[in-house]
Every structure is written in C-alpha cells, then in structure tokens.
C-alpha cells in the first residue's frame, strides 16, 4: 500500500476525520426497523391489477390444448393470456455468452409455447383485480397435456437412450470445458500416494425471505414503462425489458426500492417477470406479480447440483503434486439468461486448487440439461463446491500420509511473498495472505488446545472434530465476467455527488442496496473524501432514470467498485468546492481543505466558513463571484478495475464440532474466520457479511436440498419441508482480518459479501470427517444430514 499511497496526493486513507475503517451503523436501516421499508409488494399503483400464473404440473410435457373461456368469465378477471399470445409481444431469449465457447441453450419464452420443460414453468397468465381472483380463475382453465419422459438424473442425461430435452440441440450437453496444466500424468505416475474420491454438492436455492416481485406500469401517452422490481441489477433489467419488448431503452425505467434478500437469486431475469411487464404493456395499466413460496421454490434459480470425481497426488513428505477433477452438473432445461448457467462450473474449473503452489492440474466440467428448475449463479458462485473439493482433497492427502491438516496447508499454500503470481489456470493473484491468515486462525481457534481436548474426549467416547478450509474468492469483477461475452451488464459504476444550497450532499450511485450496507459504505467513502459528516449525506440507489449507469450489486462488487467511484467523486467535488472557497477567501486553494462540513486552513485546521456558505453564495448570490467564474457543485466519477480482471481475496475458516454418534446430530463448539478483503471500510458490516455468509453456507452443507422424484416432481416446496438454518442451531462466529489492499484502486477495498458462504461447507465437512475418522466414517455428499452421518459410520 505505501507505494501507491505515496503516489497519490491526499490519499483517501490519510484524510482527517476519515470514516474508512469505522463501524458506522447503516443510516438507511432505521426505516426498516420502524416497519417503514418499501419492498416491492408494498407498492400499489392506481388501477393496479394482479397476475397469477398457471404453471406446468409436469416436469416435461407437451401442451395439446388450452381452453381459457371459463376463466375469462370468472369474477374480477381482466385478461387471460397464453404463450402464443405472449410471444407476439415479448421475444424469446437464449442464455449463452460468447466467451463460454460452445455453450448452447434453446430459445426460452416468457410463457411456455409448445411444451413445458420443468415443473413450475409459467404457461398461462391470468390478470385480475386481486391475486385471489386470479388464482380462482386458474382453476377454471382447461389444459390438456401430453406427458413426455423427464430427464432428471444428470448422470444419465448424456446416455444414448436418454430422450433429448431440446432435440434441435442434438444432445443434452449444454457445455463442456476442459483444462490441462503442467504435467498431470507424470505427477500421478511418480507420486507416493494417489487418493480418489467422489464429492456431491446438493441442489439448493436462495430462499429470500421476500419472494421475487415486480409491479409494472405502461403509459401509452409517453410510450414509457415504469417497473418497480426487487432486483440487484436495475440497469441490466432495463436493457433486457427494452430489448424483449422492443422499446427504446430510455423509455424503460426500473426502480428498485428495498430488496428483502437476494444473494444472487435476484440478479437473473425470470420468465414470469418478463410476462408481467409485457402484460402491463398489453393492458396499458399496472400489473403486479409477487411470487408465493411454492413459486419461489420451483422458479427461483437453484444452484450447486454437482457430482465431482477427484484425484490428488501427494508425496510422503506432504507435497501436493497434482489435482485432477471431473465435474458433472445439471442445470435444468435452459441456461439462464443473461448470465448463463455455465459460470458455476467455469468457476470450479478455474479456481480449484488455486491457493496452492501445485501447478499440475487437470479439470473437466460437463454441464447437462435436465427437466428440473433452471440452475444459475447463487451467492459465492461455484466457490462452495470448489472449496469443498479442494479442501476435501487436501484433507484426504493429509489423512493418507498421517500429517496434520494445518501442517499440510502450511507446506503447500502459496507463500505470502510470492505475489504477484498466477493460479494453475493462469488467473492473476495480486496480493494474498494465506499464511498470515492461517496462522491467525490457528491462534483464534487455539488449535493445539482443541487437539488435546479432542483426544481427551475420544477416550470418553465423545467424537469431536476440527475442520479447516482455506479459500480464494473472486471479487470486484471487471468486464471479463459478462461484458466480454456480449451481455448488457455494466462492469463500470459511477457516483454523482451534489452539494446543495444548505451544505448537504446527495449521492446517486449505480450500485444497489439489498441490506449488505452498500449505501452506508458509499456514504462513508464519499464523506471521507469530501470532508463532511455522515449525517450530511443522502445516498440514492436503484433508479435507472436517476443514478449513473451501473452494474448494481453482485459478485462482491459494491464496496470495491461503488466505493471507489464515491471516493473519486468526493475528491473531485472537494476540489471544486475548495476552488470556490479560495476565490471567496482570496487565498491559494492549496491552503484550504474541507473538514467536518467546514472550509478550513490546511495548516492549522482553523475554520474559515461552513459549506452552507458555499452553497448560499453559489446558488443564491453567484453575482458576488467573479463574472468569468462558474462554480460546479455537481460532479460524476466512474470506476472500473483495469489492472486486474478481478480482485482475488483469500481467507480461512475453522470450526470445532461434536458429532452425536447415536443421533447423527452435530453441535458447533467453535467457529472462526479470518478474511482478507483488502481495506476494510466498515469492520462491523464486513464481519456481518462474513457471519451471514457462513450461516448461508452451513445451510447448504447441513440442511438444504431441493428434492425431486424420478419424474421431476419437486418434493419439498414448503419451508416446513425444505430446512434452512434457524437461530438455535447456529454458532457464534469469531471474525478476524488481514488487510492486503488491491492496488487497482485508491481505496484498496476488495469484496467481502460471498467469502463466508464459499468456505463454510468445506470447513464443516472436514470437521465432521475429522470427528468420524476413528470410527472409519466419512461423508462426502451434502447436505451432511444426521441420516448420512449415521450411514457413514455404519449405524444405520
């Protein structure tokens, strides 16, 4: 950091009264505490109607005929629209990106036209004066189906005798990627030990407490669509709605108020949401859609359905010599638009083993189609899977040679002084801290004491285990993620800052808030760069008519990218304000600064005038300024990472748990995380991202699973049947930090939102297997339910 800091005059981290590094509470949280948030379903517009969807009850079936005549006569019904009618208004899409070479998918419609390809696919839209009336009318639709054989098992999806989901594609293989680096065959041939294993990551989903929702209105007088949407990406959605309804993009306004959880679920585009917008366009009046919980389970994207065969080579001295993986993943019937369903497997190929010095690495990933809910990116995209297999393999290796799991990591993690360097797949690592982080975790856990406790407990027949998992995480994505593949997804983000007449500051930013604290972090960055207190700042997000064009919040990008844009906007506005002040005070601008809402002398901090005086003069009495001078109290600055395609972060998680070998239940005794996300802007918010992320990761590892019958029927579509982590089962989590800032920005912040989720499944798996080792048991298939644990030790 010193290198860059010395190069930048007035570096953000050197500002007086800086908010960077301070645990400031989120200003926007108060309305939520008062029950005064505005979630999408809270919005009601004049003449509003409600849409409900008749959805396919089959996983795969042809539509023979649809009779909607009775439904149209049902009380309160405004319109009933089928797929054929919808297709005239809303064009289909294909979820591919050019940089995922060979990825294929079929055209997908807002409402199924000829056949339905998963249980839950929307088929007919019913618009009525209330949701209940729309649902009443669904019952009156007479639809004849011809059931087709469903492709549900990904292991047989590519077999010759398996039916094709989209015959025009030629097979059920959506995409395949192969990588071969170093000399893998030679490494395995000469290895002292080779260990093979199969790991299974279960299909699960986001379970946002606020279901997906959208309220769309069309004003024919202006030919304008206004869309209130629970989304992470307003500008992306603006672009997609405009494209598929064939309306000019600036005629579509997407407004995103409070979002009740997203985690990647709300970063995608959904058929029922296109349909709702198209219905508003057709009917020229507002239409609201709010998914119910069953619709959420069967139509929100699912994620992480993978079977991975692994092979690791290790010397007797503990040197890891090669990794080989073969990943098979089922993504449902379509690659999801516009981010595609190839990214998760791509991450697995790109990043497995990336924290280790070993460069002999071979990977294959096959992405196959199925008649299940479409699968796509969910918090920590791919990382929970790739960290589970990487750290599973490393523990497999350690166990084989009888080495302590911390010791084998010390021996093989990339040294902290090796940077910059590259991953086996050629991805650049700027500056990571695996060893410092690991040593810190070892201390936080009091690792040696835990080992002693473990061995004492074992003598009493109590089975406790320690799990450790190191990880890397992709954050601050540049255009390499989506833009280069042709997607209308902004990699760049901006901040517009305005000093108003009373000395307050309004910031509009392209990143969005879903509770992580993006608005607070942007305000902290702006306040620090400008020299004002937080209470003077108002942050506006989530409105495509107002904010700078941007990418929104996903991929751990809001703080690192949106924060840096706010820093640069704050500095530029400060220059402009100081310039005005220097004219008013008739002094050199270099002698002035802004601190605590006042113009001050740099030398001694003496207050010269408040910012409200600058506002008063510039707006109300510009006649008192020189005639050839024009003040500018609004500035916009943008930022996109340029030196690196993304900013890698790293960290390590560890836990200590007890397995009840009679019931298969586990109980956490300790959980600790060390996270290196570069400059920490708000320690409390970062810690809470880590904690929430870990718990979300533990959900997938321990409880959550989308269960299907062989016919593709979703079996557990209620929150009583699909289990999520609740307060009583979850541990307190100690969070520590190492700070290795990125030099790609002045701020140096990397992303922190996903790392907790990425590392948790591996950590708990390794701990369970450590506990079960003396009993000869091992679990490799998530979720690690009591049943699977008992089966692993032969108790059932």
């Amino acid at each position: 950091m010193p290198e860059l800091k010395s190069m930048i005059k007035d570096h953000i981290l050197d500002r007086p009264n800086s908010y960077i590094g301070r645990s400031v509470p989120r200003p926007n949280a108060k309305r939520l505490l008062a029950g005064r948030g505005t979630f999408t379903d809270d919005i009601n517009l004049p003449r509003q109607t409600h849409v409900a969807f008749l959805r396919s009850t089959y996983a795969h079936a042809e539509i023979v005929s649809i009779d909607v005549s009775a439904a149209k006569e049902s009380p309160g019904v405004v319109a009933v629209v089928t797929g054929i009618e919808m297709a005239k208004i809303c064009s289909p899409w294909v979820g591919v990106l050019s940089h995922l070479e060979g990825l294929k998918s079929a055209p997908q419609h807002a409402l199924a036209v000829k056949k339905a390809s998963w249980q839950g696919e929307p088929v007919v839209a019913i618009v009525a004066n209330s949701r209940a009336q729309a649902e009443d009318a669904i019952e009156l639709i007479d639809i004849e189906w011809k059931e087709l054989p469903a492709v549900t098992d990904m292991e047989t999806a590519l077999d010759e005798n398996t039916p094709l989901i989209h015959p025009e594609l030629g097979d059920n293989l959506s995409w395949q990627r192969d990588f071969d680096g170093g000399d893998v065959d030679a490494a395995f041939a000469k290895a002292d030990n080779v260990i093979e294993e199969t790991y299974i990551s279960n299909r699960h989903t986001g379970v946002c407490l606020e279901a997906r929702g959208i309220v769309a209105d069309y004003n024919p007088g202006e030919d304008e669509l206004t869309i209130y949407h629970s989304t992470q990406t307003p500008h992306m959605m603006q672009s997609l709605f405009a494209k598929h309804l064939d309306i000019e993009e600036h005629k579509v306004r997407v407004i995103c108020k409070d979002v009740g959880g997203s985690y990647g679920i709300k970063v995608h585009s959904y058929p029922d949401e296109y349909a709702t917008v198209a219905l508003a366009y057709m009917l020229k009046r507002p239409v609201k859609f709010t998914a119910d919980r069953l619709e959420s389970f069967t139509t929100d994207i699912h994620a992480r359905d993978h079977i991975i065969k692994t092979k690791v080579a290790v010397s007797n001295q503990g040197e890891i010599q090669a990794f080989e993986i073969d990943d098979l993943t089922g993504i449902g019937p379509y690659s999801v638009y516009p981010r595609t369903s190839g990214i998760e497997a791509n991450q697995v190929v790109n990043l497995t083993g990336g924290q280790y010095t070993n460069l002999n690495y071979r990977a294959r990933a096959r992405v196959v189609l199925q008649n299940k809910t479409p699968m796509c990116q969910y918090r920590a995209v791919g990382h929970p899977i790739l960290t589970m297999i990487t750290e599973g393999m490393v523990d497999d290796a350690a166990r084989k040679i009888g080495m302590d799991p911390v010791e084998i990591r010390r021996k093989n993690l990339i040294p902290d002084d090796a940077y910059p360097c590259k991953s086996p797949t050629g991805l650049p690592f700027e500056n990571l801290s695996h060893h410092e982080s690991l040593e810190k975790l070892v201390k936080m856990l009091d690792y040696d004491a835990l080992r002693k406790d473990q061995s004492k407990a074992r003598k009493k027949g109590i089975y406790r285990g320690i799990g450790v998992a190191t990880f890397i995480e992709v954050t601050n994505p540049g255009p390499a993620f989506y833009g280069v593949g042709g997607a209308s997804i902004s990699a760049q983000d901006g901040a517009t800052m305005r000093l108003d007449a009373k000395g307050n500051v309004i910031i509009e930013t392209g990143v969005t808030e879903q509770g992580q604290g993006a608005e607070a972090v942007v305000a902290q960055c702006a306040a620090s760069a400008l020299g004002v207190t937080m209470d003077k700042i108002k942050v506006i997000t989530g409105d495509t008519d107002i904010t700078p064009y941007g990418g929104g919040t996903w991929g751990s990008r809001a703080a690192g990218i949106g924060g840096e844009a706010a820093v640069q906007a704050g500095k530029a506005l400060r220059d402009n304000i100081v310039e005005v002040a220097s004219i008013m005070l008739q002094c050199d601008p270099s002698t002035l600064d802004i601190r605590d809402n006042n113009i001050v002398d740099v030398s001694d901090g003496n207050e010269r005038m408040p910012l409200s005086e600058i506002g008063r003069v510039c707006y109300y009495r510009p006649d008192t300024l020189p005639k050839d001078y024009q003040s500018e109290l609004v500035v916009t600055r943008h930022y996109v990472p340029k030196k690196f395609p993304f900013a890698f972060t790293n960290g390590v998680q560890g836990c200590y748990l007890e397995v009840d070998i009679n019931t298969g239940f586990i109980k956490f005794k300790k959980y600790a995380v060390v996270e290196d996300c570069g400059t920490v802007i708000n320690p409390m918010l970062v810690d809470e991202q880590v904690r929430g992320g870990v718990i979300q990761g533990l959900g997938g590892a321990l409880y959550e699973e989308c269960l299907y019958s062989p016919e593709g029927q979703f079996l557990n579509g209620t929150m009583a049947d699909y289990l999520v982590p609740m307060a009583v089962e979850m541990p307190d989590i100690e969070v520590g930090h190492v700070e290795s800032p990125t030099l790609d920005s002045e701020l140096g912040a990397k992303g922190a939102g996903e790392a907790g989720t990425g590392g948790a499944p591996a950590t708990v798996m390794n701990a369970i297997n450590d506990a079960l080792y003396p009993l000869g048991g091992k679990v490799t298939a998530q979720p690690f339910t009591p049943e699977r644990i008992l089966a692993a030790i032969g108790a059932i």
């Binding site: 108060k30 505490l33 029950g35 009601n44 209940a132 606020e210 009740g260 709010t290 992320g693």
Partner: protein, 162 residues
Amino acid sequence: MSNKIEQVQLDVDVNGEKISRMIEPRLSLVDFLRNELELTGSHVGCEHGVCGACTVLVDGVIVRGCLMLAIQTNGAEVMTIEGQSDSGAITDLQEAFHERNALQCGFCTPGMLLTSTELLQKKSDPSREEIREYLSGNYCRCTGYEAIVDAVEAVAAVRRDV
C-alpha cells in the same frame, strides 16, 4: 360456475384505532393488514407459519398473521410493527438492532422485534441459548442471527439495570 364470495363484517382495534370493514372470510390477517389497511410493515414470507415475517400481536400475544384469518380478530386488539414503533415501546430494541447491525435486508426485522419484545417481557435475563431458542420461529437469511442475539442480550441487560 360462480366464484362470488359473501363478505362478512369485521370490527377490530388495530394499533389503537377502531376499524370496521366488510371482508371475505377467507382473507388472512396479514393480507388484511397489508392490503386493506396498507400497514405494510408486516411481511409475507412463507404463508404457512414457518418464517415469522408476518408476526403481529393479537391481544398482546404474538401470532402468525398468515395462519390467522382476519375475521378471527373480530373484537380483538391487533398491534403491528407500525403501532409498536410509533408508540415508542420498543425504541431501545430498535436502537440496539441499529447499533449492532442486527438487520440486513430488514424483511424479517418487524417479526424479530415483536418476538424479541415478547421474550423480554417473559424473561428479563435470557441466556444466549434461550434467545436463540425463542427466535427460532423467525427466519433470517442475512445476518446469521448472532447480531440479533447480541442486540436482544444488550437490551435485556440495560433494562435490568434501569
């Protein structure tokens, strides 16, 4: 076939205000509060009594607004997050949640606050385990719960000292 549904009269006290409405008997309490009274602080999460986002007080006891029909509250007193918040009764809890960042997206928060309020009325010094147990009918996907437990624990301590 007709779907016409007879309406029935509901007389209920909501946040201290006497309300009389004709409603469909099938209308749930939370839909009544949200759609008829525009009290949108009570949220609909799962619609089958698992997630706790729709928690409100009926005659002083927390209930699931999605599992109770609106007509069942005839003659009762209903208190929502808006009423509790405006009355100032839970200001300390709200401030503790804010200071500790015991909320992220805020969708579960009204339910968490009302459930915590009931816990603290029943028990002035709950242990962390007891807080976790009591809040286990309220789902939060964002926080991982620890900050919420911290906030409730902190308020209990302050209230005991007063």
